[in-house]
């Protein structure tokens, strides 16, 4: 199956009866044939979360599914733009004041009617340090939230903030009824949201059953009676389940299964660009990568296309800095320095930086992330070819997270994504403390300056220039070396219609799925 660009997908979607399912508000689905209502979609992945807390559970495996249950004032559409969701409209009164009109007539899953107090409660809960939400950093620009009337809210910011609207639709948020989570334990196993589906039952790590929210505010949707998410740890069993029609749809963590499922005749297979990157993170305060010339040498030693072909089986995009799916922000590799492999220059830089002779470094990888181990094997070979020895250290994810959050990780393989704005991708990760975390200890003042400027510059064209400069800076002094963006890979029975992959990998597109036959 050909890799699908956004343009091609829309053409095929129109031919098979799908429409341009874009923003929820203001757009209607255009179907060649009306979608069939009813049925329960069985959707398999290799894991499910241990809890479904809207503001605390940070695992991607929950975040992907959260848009089906919880909603925000805005949602981020396929063009990565904020669109109305629980907010019907908003007005920017000044650079620091936004007034939102909350949609009337929206019902929570428990029947309560949504109002502005619920919205204020929900965002303030994420902002409260005592809650312990990982999304607090995305809302630090909010000074206060005022309820003006039952359906009107005013957000006052501490300063101009370009990502403010995007961050309101961020993955750690989710509007819940006022007072519904006083201790933090109430919504670990149950959900009360406004989304198109409510949670019927949840078995941690194993099964999540959703049923249609009959009072959903958007008329006519969803089409399904329900969705049953099941966790099947061994993805070869997922392939077998698809083959034997036990599973309607699957999202593969390991893209290699694409080659197995594409040979199964009764399946549709979708590959789509993702906002996700496999990265080699270096350590700015650990020898030898504390030396900028060594970092540059590593970048020049690597052939990222080979890494993609070998470790990623060619299923993705070779990266400069930002994933190409971040349209409007990502600079093409041709516009960045140090992108073409140059082993001779790498050796010269190493001789200058390490006059004592051959250097070596430790690079960490994580158990359970095969793409990282595979990429690292290629990296080890390429670095050895320029005279840099590598010791591979494999650790458990708990160990990795602990050291990473404590800012003491050695050079490491990494894979993450889900950001839709360059501020989300860069600020927290690369800005020095206290405003950011600078997990890799880059300590780059020019980077800080650009990130601070990008955060408060509201004009999009000006922001694009700032983040273009940042990407050039990162390519010149690579504290992180983005390698490739792995494609999203989905397999569906031909009876599943209407699915559209979102670049973040979140299941916005499942809202409009229907089952035929």
């Amino acid at each position: 199956m050909q890799r699908v660009t956004r343009r091609e997908f829309l053409k095929v979607a129109a031919a098979t009866g799908l429409g341009a399912a874009g923003a929820q508000a203001g757009e209607r689905l255009a179907w060649a044939a009306p979608p069939r209502r009813g049925g329960t979609l069985v959707f398999a992945t290799s894991a499910l979360p241990a809890s479904i807390e809207p503001h605390l559970e940070g695992a991607d495996i929950w975040q992907k599914r959260k848009p089906l249950v919880y909603e925000n004032l805005v949602w981020i559409d396929y063009a990565l733009q904020p669109q109305p969701q629980l907010a019907e409209a908003w007005e920017r009164k000044s650079d620091t004041v936004y007034v939102f009109k909350v949609r009337e007539g929206v019902k929570f899953h428990n029947g309560k009617t949504l109002d502005a107090e619920d919205v204020k409660y929900s965002y303030e809960r994420v902002m409260d340090p005592k809650t312990g939400s990982g999304g607090r950093g995305d809302l630090v620009m909010i000074k206060r939230i005022d309820v003006l009337d039952r359906y009107t809210l005013r957000f006052v910011l501490s300063g101009p903030s370009a990502p403010f609207l995007i961050n309101l639709g961020g993955k750690y948020n989710g509007v819940i009824p006022k007072g519904s989570a006083p201790t933090g334990r109430e919504l670990l196993q149950r959900a009360v949201g406004t989304g198109p589906f409510s949670v019927e039952s949840f078995q941690p790590n194993q099964r999540l059953v959703l049923k249609r929210h009959d009072q959903y505010w958007q008329p006519g949707v969803p089409y399904l009676d329900g969705i049953t998410f099941i966790a099947v740890p061994d993805e070869s069993s997922i392939v077998a389940g698809l083959r034997t029609n036990q599973i309607h749809m699957a999202d593969f963590a390991n893209t290699l299964y694409y080659f197995q499922v594409r040979s199964v005749g009764h399946l549709d297979v979708i590959r789509a660009p993702s906002i996700r990157w496999v990265v080699l993170d270096l350590a700015g305060d650990m020898a030898p990568t504390s030396h900028p010339d060594v970092r540059r040498a590593i970048e020049l030693a690597l052939d990222r296309q080979v890494i993609l072909q070998t470790a990623g089986s060619g299923l993705g995009e070779r990266l400069g800095v930002l994933p190409p799916a971040m349209k409007g922000w990502a600079l093409a590799p041709s516009r960045l320095p140090n992108q073409a492999p140059n082993p001779d220059e790498a050796r010269a830089l190493l001789r200058r930086a390490l006059p004592g002779g051959a250097g070596s470094l430790t690079i960490r990888t994580i158990v359970g992330f095969p793409e990282l181990g595979a990429s690292l094997q290629v990296i080890v070979d390429q670095l050895r070819a320029v005279g840099l020895g590598v010791r591979v250290e494999t650790v458990d994810i708990g160990v990795w997270i602990k050291d990473f959050l404590a800012r003491r990780s050695p050079p490491t393989m990494n894979v993450w994504g889900g950001f839709v704005d360059p501020d989300q991708a860069f600020y927290r990760h690369y800005h020095t403390p206290p405003d950011g975390m600078d997990f890799r200890r880059w300590n780059n003042r020019e980077a800080d300056r650009l990130l601070d400027e990008g955060r408060v510059t509201l004009d999009r064209a000006s922001r694009q220039k700032i983040y273009a400069q940042f990407q050039v800076l990162m390519a010149q002094d690579p504290i992180s070396i983005p390698l490739y963006a792995p494609d999203l890979v989905y397999a569906l029975q031909k009876t599943v219609k209407g699915f559209r992959p979102h670049p973040t990998g979140f299941y916005y597109g499942v809202r409009y799925v229907s089952l035929t036959g």
């Binding site: 061994d234 160990v399 050291d403």
Partner: protein, 305 residues
């Protein structure tokens, strides 16, 4: 037994805390804005700011009252989690043992009845192979072969035995076969070896001399004595099965105690890890006690106390 369990409790309490990383890091994930205040707040929430001795004292006091605590990730009582997952693992273990005995004993007896024959050779080589094959590989191969060529695979969604026995047994067939293969091989080898020894005894020679038929000699005279060491092997095999259960439940997506333990380990959910290992250890000890009692039933010469 209580002293042993206490020792296991101390060991598992300490060992799980030796693994770097806690539930706090698992919850926050990579990339969260982590202030010292947030970390402190979450560590207090889980009691991780307390000294180890205090944490242990709190936990063991609850265990003494029959309360294994609650999962840190799901807040469900550990006992409730075990109540739903242990029956799955127990059923898998029982079926695996049943497969092992149903295949291993007859094969061992036949092999012993025809020593140094082609059949004996096949059994000996086959049992060595069966012992060598890793369970995860065998399970995956079964799934592949059945789904590819027979267009069938066990249901991926759990069906309790009480709700739909046939569907449940269909679901458990391949996992039980996978888990029972190595045990069956061990049982076959032990049965063969014991039978050969029994068949060489004077009482068997006497029975044959008196005109007792071959089948009766095998089944009534030799087998009963040959089964005594087999009972011991089966008891020991329970330990192997406990380890194999984790792998097989993962491959076949069964919601058993093995998978519960594995998930809890990755998530650093200490109450679930500690409670599950304690309960599994207690069960293992009970099973071996049962094997010892059965030993005495089978062999009147054995008396305890």
């Amino acid at each position: 037994m209580l002293v042993t369990l206490l020792g296991i409790a101390v060991l598992v309490f300490l060992l799980v805390r030796l693994i770097p990383g806690t539930v706090v890091e698992e919850l926050l994930g990579q990339g969260a804005l982590v202030t010292p205040e947030t970390l402190r707040s979450l560590r207090e929430f889980f009691g991780l700011d307390q000294p180890l001795a205090v944490q242990f004292a709190h936990w063991i006091a609850r265990v003494a009252r029959g309360d294994l605590g609650e999962s840190w990730r799901s807040t469900r009582p550990v006992l409730a989690l075990l109540a739903s997952s242990l029956p799955v693992s127990a059923e898998l273990a029982v079926l695996a043992i049943a497969v092992a005995l149903a295949v291993g004993i007859p094969v061992g007896v036949l092999s012993a009845a025809r020593p140094r024959s082609a059949l004996d050779g096949v059994v000996r080589v086959g049992s060595t192979l069966a012992l060598s094959v890793p369970a995860f590989w065998q399970g995956t191969i079964f799934i592949l072969l059945f789904s590819l060529y027979l267009h069938w695979m066990p249901p991926l969604q759990w069906v309790p035995l009480g709700r739909h026995p046939l569907a449940n047994l269909a679901l458990m067939a391949l996992p039980a076969l996978t888990l029972g293969t190595a045990s069956g091989a061990m049982v076959a080898r032990m049965t063969r070896s014991s039978m050969l020894e029994a068949l060489g005894q004077d009482y068997v020679r006497t029975a044959r001399a008196k005109g007792v038929g071959a089948l009766r000699v095998l089944g009534r005279h030799a087998l009963r004595n040959a089964l005594i060491p087999v009972v011991t092997v089966v008891g020991v095999q329970m330990g192997y099965l406990l380890g194999g259960i984790v792998v097989v439940e993962d491959v076949f997506s069964l919601p058993g105690a093995g998978r519960l333990l594995l998930d809890a380990l990755f998530q650093r959910d200490y109450p679930v890890v500690q409670g599950t290992i304690l309960v599994l250890a207690a069960l293992f000890m009970l099973v071996n006690l049962g094997a010892d009692v059965l030993y005495a039933v089978l062999d009147p010469r054995i008396r305890y106390g």
